[in-house]
């Protein structure tokens, strides 16, 4: 059976199952969400109005046995940035949607009235149901309740209270194999789902399976691909320390944004590092390794227990720990874990919300280092939708505007993540030129600036940074279309067997003959499609700039500023 488009119109409360237009057939993941958003969403529409559409797409390899192929892409016009947006996450939903024969879900329109709804997806299509029990509930209660209502193997895509309140830092969460959550964090997509009044989507593939055109070729390629991932030395550190292994190396390089981007090193770095986190996990009976989807061979997630050895959080990521830690001056890992759990329950992007807290600290709302205060504000203000809570839930730029702060680390209104662009200049180019606001995952120049993966480019020099970011952003857009976790990129950059094996798997899945050049061209097409949407929405190259304070505030310890000219930044688009 050919894959279909599952369309849900929330204005008319009707659903259809449609054939895939030929122009969309070769796409998956981000390539498909951006193609559909560009084709069907008026670029000037209000992101929370009836003309925006939430598009949910598995990748080209989702639902196959391919290692690390569990990422789900979610796209729309972002209410945070006003640009096109794709945010992806692990969990089981991508694999299960693919097994439903679903190429993409298109969620459009807005219902009249105050009812909340759930959507039930299976291979026959989608049904829309009134949801009276779980509206107003947090993500954890929702997952626990659905564990009794649905079979445990069903996938769940959900929003928390932040999404219901249409906060622009709201994320969309996806259930993992153990009932914990992964999140499509960036860009406020939870608010778009909330604007459609859909509380959750369940996915039941029944006995659906993904067909593979050439199973033997697929199996052989997957073996080579998996071996490349497992053998790469970065995978070892990721399995032991999680992504939080980065705290110490980014601190050592002087690029760890600290106390709202006023320093590049944090005195408490070791207390919040991956090494310390590993020791606490082992002392408290947690698990250092945990996969967010079946088939992951890297296992960078973990189970982090509290001091009483009770489960506290999982998927405890470097970006989240940096943002609540160094950026807010907090060196207590348990406060950070509590805040991480609260944000998962409320359905908030941990980067956006925590950077917003850092700006609020600068404004004097609470003191730098006050981890308990962050937790209190999350519970009593953000969770209850008070005025202050809605300002913080609106993200870092929202806090800056409300309190008259000039040091506001955002690009296109989206918070800058865990690498200071003054001392890791390749990341600054990615933040400035990304089609989606500041986002490290769009083109991870840190790999080559700091980690010496894929070669070495001096992080403090401007030389080579534009070309590096361009190549990475093109490659990333293509990888984001496959359903693959981005961490395959470390092996892909260093191991010459990795990318050809990935392309072989795509070819074996569909019975086609893509080449490496086709994949590069796919990445270029995606970036240009996204840029064209943004231009039609009113964005210009003047928006591809970092905040002014980076130009005049030298960052210790290297005491460097952001020194790219506009012309140099704009040369990114010369392809």
């Amino acid at each position: 059976m050919a894959d279909k488009i599952f369309r849900i119109n929330m204005t008319t409360l009707s659903t259809t199952v449609e054939d895939i237009p030929p122009a969309w057939a070769g796409h998956g993941g981000r390539g498909l969400t951006s193609t559909i958003v560009a084709a069907e969403v008026p670029p000037t529409c209000h992101p929370l109005g009836p003309n925006n559409k939430l598009v949910i797409a598995p990748g080209l390899l989702s639902g196959t046995p391919a290692a690390n192929s569990g990422r789900l892409s979610i796209g729309a016009k972002s209410p945070l940035t006003g640009t096109i947006k794709e945010s992806n996450a692990g969990g089981t939903a991508a694999q299960l949607l693919a097994r439903c024969g679903c190429k993409a879900i298109i969620l459009e329109g807005c219902p009249a009235g105050d009812s909340w709804y759930n959507l039930a997806v299976n291979p026959d299509g989608v049904t829309i149901n009134i949801e009276s029990d779980l509206a107003g509930k947090g993500n954890f209660e929702l997952i626990n309740t659905l564990a009794n209502r649905l079979s445990s193997k069903q996938g769940i895509i959900t929003i928390g209270l932040a999404g219901e309140m249409k906060m622009t830092a709201a994320n969309i969460s996806i259930k993992d194999p153990d009932g914990h959550l992964r999140s499509a964090g960036r860009g406020g997509l939870g608010a778009v789902m909330g604007s459609k009044r859909v509380k959750f989507i369940s996915i039941d593939p029944k006995d659906g399976k993904v067909a593979i055109a050439d199973p033997e070729k697929f199996k052989a390629a997957n073996k080579i691909f998996s071996k490349a991932l497992v053998d790469h030395p970065v995978s070892q550190g990721l399995g032991q320390y999680g992504t939080n292994v980065l705290v110490n190396i980014i601190n050592e390089s002087g690029g760890l944004p600290t106390r709202n981007f006023t320093a590049g090193q944090f005195a408490g770095h070791d207390k919040i590092s991956g090494e310390t986190m590993y020791d606490k996990i082992m002392e408290r009976g947690g698990k250092p390794k945990h996969g967010c989807h079946p088939g992951c061979v890297i296992q960078c997630s973990q189970i982090y227990n509290d001091i009483n050895k009770n489960y506290k959080t999982s998927g405890f990521e470097y970006e989240s720990i940096w943002a609540m830690g160094a950026d807010c001056g907090v060196d207590n890992l348990d406060h950070i874990a509590e805040a991480d759990s609260l944000m998962d329950d409320l359905g908030l992007d941990t980067i956006e919300t925590s950077v917003a807290m850092g700006v609020a600290m600068e404004a004097g709302v609470l003191a730098f280092g006050d981890g308990a205060g962050i937790c209190r504000i999350l519970k009593d203000e953000v969770g209850k939708g008070t005025g202050l809570g809605r300002i913080i839930g609106g993200g870092a730029a929202s806090v800056g505007r409300a309190f008259g702060v000039t040091r506001v680390p955002v690009v296109k209104n989206q918070a800058i993540p865990a690498y200071d662009p003054r001392s890791i200049k390749g990341m600054g180019i990615t933040y400035a030129t990304s089609t989606q606001g500041a986002d490290h995952t769009m083109g991870y120049s840190v790999a080559t600036n700091i980690l010496k993966v894929g070669g070495s480019v001096d992080p403090l020099s401007k030389v080579g940074q534009v070309e590096l970011s361009r190549n990475l952003q093109i490659a990333t857009a293509a990888i984001d279309s496959t359903g693959m976790c981005l961490f395959i990129a470390f092996a892909a950059l260093d191991d010459t067997t990795c990318l050809p094996a990935l392309i072989d798997m795509i070819n074996a899945r569909f019975g086609i003959n893509l080449t490496g050049d086709d994949v590069v061209n796919l990445g270029k097409y995606i970036l240009k499609t996204e840029k064209a949407f943004n231009e039609a929405a009113g964005f210009t190259k003047a928006d591809d700039r970092l905040p002014e304070f980076f130009n005049y505030e030298p960052l210790p310890p290297h005491n460097v500023v952001w020194d790219f000219t506009g012309e140099e930044i704009d040369s990114f688009w010369n392809f």
């Binding site: 292994v245 110490n248 991956g274 010496k452």
Partner: protein, 74 residues
């Protein structure tokens, strides 16, 4: 000369987090790595005073040397 050596990730196991160690003049980064019994092939990044350095760089009195295995994340 006195060199402050900082180790990270699994390089700390059975060794230390940070130590001031005494080495002869002209000791290189490789010399320190060998002295500590670290497999040079496992080394990903070395930094002297927060700047990346080559393995054959000669250390100077008071330098702070960070030694990392090949790691990644993000």
């Amino acid at each position: 000369m006195n060199i402050t050596v900082r180790l990270f990730a699994f390089f700390r196991e059975g060794r230390f987090v940070e130590e001031v160690r005494v080495y002869p003049e002209k000791t290189t980064v490789t010399g320190v790595i060998n002295d500590l019994g670290i497999n040079i092939d496992a080394v990903g990044v070395t930094m002297i005073c927060f700047r990346q350095c080559a393995l054959d760089t000669e250390l100077r009195e008071g330098d702070q040397l960070g030694i990392f295995p090949m790691i990644g994340g993000g």
